[in-house]
């Protein structure tokens, strides 16, 4: 009986793996399935479940009941997001992530039930908020190279939960509310006749610094416990260095996207003057009204410092690299998720109707996946959406204002759109459709629209 079940799991993984490999060479992208279940609103039932597993840390009854309320709030928050399709419910991916967590927990003898939730958020992040769920954003997969790195991220979030960081922070905040010294200080600020704002900002600044410092200490603790958890597994711990480097570089990615190339052809050339920045540049010192020390505000330590700490621990524990692996469960499923992460970002943007971002992101992916007609279809569809918005003066709802944080190539695209008149834009769209005639040939909607604008 046991042998049969093992065989069926093996067959399941093999079929999943083959699907994943083929998915990368398909011309179309089929979006993953998303969650839709709302949370139950029965508080009594929830409390009954929680009471069975929850061991309170605080001695004060008020704080314990407040924390339970907070857990119920988290449960409802999860339900609301689930209803709005914020989580990925695809069985292949969720089972895989759960198995990574379960394997580490099994080796460490942890019995508690934890759930890994894959969110549709594009920010490279993972988090735990004190409940029994470990959230991983799909955007994080752009910074992950292999399964060992994924396992470390999951272990890090598990460590936060095991060390009760969220609960301890909650208790500290509750106690702070009743702190007489702080109450007195706030009252004196409220009653002050002059310099009220400066004093309030100084008070807030000190609180923020304290909170950030506390948070940074927690991160170091979670890093070391995650290492302890990982030591018993066969994952290669040297991969953690690369993970930190990837995360550090994720903020400053500025891959060149040749926006103009997509539109230029023999008959149509984009006016290069459109791409230029404003003629007159002004400045005003770049200072803010109330300066905060950026380093003191950071809730996470620098990646370099984090890795140095991890490295020193590995030295102390005499970590041996022998027989360690980058993949234990499945490399094909991992690669499938990283492949989907690229396209899921497009799906998220589609959900929010950020047309310019969709076009730019799809253009970026065209270099990586040149055979995907899906990308050209997405670009053409969104060029069409922009055209409709343009006609109805609703462009501002889908195209953002240019800002310093944007990549130079994205700014180029925005400048092109904002410099065009409706007629110019028609020509631009027509040029794109002409350039990718073969890729767009099978999409009747796009072809009809092309004939419409060609008139």
């Amino acid at each position: 009986m046991v042998g049969k079940s093992k065989l069926s799991i093996l067959i399941l993984f093999l079929t999943m793996g083959s699907q994943c490999i083929f998915a990368q060479y398909a011309k179309e992208y089929k979006a993953l399935s998303y969650s839709y279940k709302p949370a139950s609103k029965n508080k009594a039932l929830f409390m009954k479940k929680i009471n069975a597993v929850y061991v309170p840390l605080a001695k004060e009854k008020q704080i314990v009941s407040a924390y339970k309320d907070y857990l119920f709030y988290l449960h409802q928050w999860h339900g609301e997001l689930s209803k709005s399709k914020a989580f990925i419910a695809d069985t292949t991916t969720t089972h895989y992530l759960q198995r990574v967590l379960d394997s580490v927990m099994h080796l460490n003898g942890i019995q508690t039930n934890y759930e890994v939730v894959l969110t549709r958020f594009s920010v490279a992040n993972a988090f735990n908020m004190g409940d029994y769920r470990l959230y991983i954003n799909i955007g994080l997969f752009k910074c992950l190279d292999n399964e060992a790195q994924l396992a470390y991220v999951i272990c890090h979030e598990l460590a936060h939960k095991m060390l009760n960081h969220a609960e301890l922070k909650f208790i500290a905040k509750q106690k702070e509310k009743d702190d007489k010294k702080k109450k007195k200080e706030i009252r004196s600020i409220e009653r002050a006749k002059y310099n009220k704002l400066d004093r309030a900002v100084n008070y807030a600044r000190q609180n923020e610094y304290n909170y950030a410092q506390y948070s940074r200490v927690n991160e170091y603790q979670a890093d070391s416990l995650a290492l302890v958890l990982m030591m018993k597994s066969n994952y290669d711990l040297k991969e953690i260095k690369q993970l930190f480097e990837n995360l550090d570089a994720s903020d400053s990615i500025n891959t060149p996207v040749p926006v103009v190339k997509f539109f230029n052809n023999e008959t149509y050339q984009i006016n290069t003057e459109w791409l230029n920045d404003s003629e007159y540049k002004i400045d005003f010192g770049n200072a803010s009204l109330y300066e905060f020390d950026k380093d003191s505000l950071k809730t996470h330590p620098d990646m370099k410092n984090r890795y140095e700490k991890v490295d020193s621990l590995l030295l102390v524990w005499k970590y041996v690299e022998q027989d360690k692996k980058k993949y234990i469960l499945s490399d094909s499923v991992f690669k499938h998720i990283t492949f989907c992460a690229d396209f899921e970002e497009l799906e998220i943007l589609k959900l929010n109707k950020r047309y310019a971002s969709i076009i730019f992101h799809a253009m970026d992916l065209v270099e990586k996946y040149p055979h995907m007609t899906y990308l050209h279809k997405t670009i053409a569809e969104n060029l069409k959406n922009i055209y409709t918005a343009f006609e109805t003066h609703k462009l501002h709802k889908h195209i953002p204002l240019e800002s310093e944080q944007m990549s130079d190539y994205y700014k180029e695209l925005l400048r092109i759109i904002y410099h065009c008149s409706l007629n110019d834009y028609k020509l631009l769209c027509k040029a794109y459709c002409d350039n990718y005639k073969n890729e767009l040939a099978t999409f009747s909607d796009i072809n009809n629209w092309y004939h419409e604008i060609s008139k």
Binding site: S278, K281, D283, L395, H396, L422
Partner: protein
């Protein structure tokens, strides 16, 4: 966006509303009623400034925050300054490379503060306005024209009208880039109605002075004074013919000659019909008359097809708001016409006049004042409500026909080349009870237009600012959610 973090902005947005007086090509903002003040250079917007009161620092001192944003509303820096609390913020401008802020006080006069690009204070000067003779009932309403005219890389020129115990005082002020302040007082008499700056460049400042005519009937004698920019020393004067009322719209200065484009009107008899037209007067910089080209529209447009079709002349009166000199020597004029109602208007009992229809458009004139082409943007199914206060008085400028909630504006904006101009306007449509934002683009003899009806305000307030050629900035404030959104409105033409 850093801006989004500034919670104070929301409160300021709810408190203040936008007002623009487009009397000349400069966009004028009054700080008491505005949120963001555009900073302009060569007819193009380079950024915005936002000044707001932060806190009371001591018994007699307030702290103010100055924020400068670029054209895309990216925060370029903030600065905190302390000001004596009898002063309040009034206006801001950009001259060359520096930012000028103006604070006014009931008792102490006007305080000018300048900042450089690194947010360093480079000037702090107070001009006293003889506080001993200012009456008790003096308030800021008596500061009429708050326009600040920046002159590229030279400084700013400002016109001040202050009410004192002895009557109105008129003055022109020049603040140079080297932080030198020059004041030229105009000695007014009992008939002086207003003074406004018509044009200024690196060499001359032209100001128009209106004096009430003895005959009444809203007739004025108009005089042009030419001053040197750096010292504000009068170089010459020119008096327009006194039997006709001239309303100068704009002027241009080239090779020692001043060209003034103005609308004129006159009546042959007390009860005869009003005749009106456009004139192009050329004088020397010493004020000597050279030539005048006139075009009486009541005669020349009678057989004009565009004027006939849009009823610009029949039972209608045009208001020429703005003029823009084109590189080929022609003038581009923006106008609005209102069709007179057939009802008998009894101003004594009704303080509003309802006009059946209105048109807005552009007219191109050559140097001989001949109409070359006219474009009329027909604002269908709307009527105009004009307060009798807004009849054509010089102190209202050459326009101010209708001002719904104080947020109508019109201005010219230059495109990438100097052959392209966009006339942008925000109108209130009484029938639709909506504001309409529109623009008419002139490109080398061709016109194209587009307009956009702003959503009907219910719980949301909409404010529109110019941002760049063919683009406007719209701020949407949701009162119920207490949130706001900043967007670019793009015209299709």
């Amino acid at each position: 966006m850093k801006l989004a973090n500034n919670i104070l902005i929301i409160t300021f947005m709810l408190l203040f509303c936008l007002k623009l007086d487009a009397q000349t090509n400069n966009i004028s903002y009054k700080a008491n009623e505005n949120l963001l003040i555009p900073l302009m250079k060569n007819n193009k917007i380079v950024g915005y400034t936002f000044v707001y009161k932060l806190d009371q620092v001591s018994k007699d001192t307030d702290s103010y925050a100055i924020s400068i944003y670029d054209e895309n509303l990216y925060n370029l820096g903030e600065k905190k300054i302390n000001i004596k609390n009898d002063f309040s913020f009034d206006a801001a401008s950009y001259c060359g490379d520096e930012y000028l802020l103006k604070f006014v006080s009931k008792k102490k006069g006007i305080n000018y503060i300048m900042f450089d690009q690194q947010a360093k204070k480079t000037m702090d000067t107070t001009i006293l306005y003889q506080p001993d003779i200012i009456t008790n009932d003096f308030d800021f309403k008596h500061f009429q024209s708050n326009e600040i005219f920046p002159i590229s890389d030279l400084g700013v020129v400002e016109n001040l009208v202050v009410k004192t115990k002895n009557g109105l005082r008129y003055a022109t002020i020049f603040i140079s880039k080297a932080h030198k302040v020059v004041v030229n007082d105009f000695i007014s008499n009992s008939r002086t109605e207003n003074m406004q700056i018509l044009f200024c460049n690196k060499e001359v400042v032209l100001r128009a002075i209106y004096e009430k005519a003895h005959t009444g009937h809203n007739l004025f004698h108009t005089k042009i004074e030419i001053l040197s920019t750096l010292e504000l020393i009068p170089k010459g004067k020119y008096q327009f013919p006194i039997d006709v009322t001239y309303y100068p719209i704009s002027a241009d200065y080239k090779n020692g000659q001043v060209e003034i484009i103005s609308q004129y009107n006159y009546r042959l008899g007390k009860y005869s019909t009003l005749k009106y037209g456009l004139s192009n007067t050329t004088i020397t910089n010493g004020g000597n008359f050279i030539k005048e080209e006139k075009n009486e529209l009541t005669q020349s447009l009678i057989s004009d097809s565009v004027a006939k079709r849009n009823k610009l002349i029949q039972h209608a009166y045009p208001y020429f708001h703005l003029a823009q000199k084109l590189p080929d020597g022609n003038w581009l004029l923006a106008f609005e016409t209102v069709q007179r109602t057939k009802n008998n208007i009894r101003i004594r009992f009704n303080n509003k006049i309802v006009y059946a229809k209105s048109n807005i458009g552009l007219m191109e004139l050559n140097s001989k004042c001949e109409v070359l082409r006219t474009y009329v943007e027909n604002v269908k199914k709307t009527y105009r409500v004009v307060h009798t206060d807004y009849t054509r008085q010089p102190h209202m400028g050459v326009l101010s026909i209708q001002n719904h909630q104080g947020d109508d504006f019109r201005f010219f904006m230059q495109g990438e080349s100097n052959l392209e101009y966009a006339f942008v306007y925000l109108n209130y449509n009484n029938t639709l009870t909506r504001k309409t934002l529109g623009n008419i683009v002139y490109t080398a003899g061709e016109f194209s237009s587009d307009h956009y009806a702003l959503p009907k305000p219910t719980s949301t307030n909409y404010y529109v600012f110019p941002i760049s050629f063919k683009n406007c900035l719209m701020i949407e404030i949701d009162k119920t959610k207490n949130s706001f959104d900043i967007n670019k409105i793009k015209f299709t033409n």
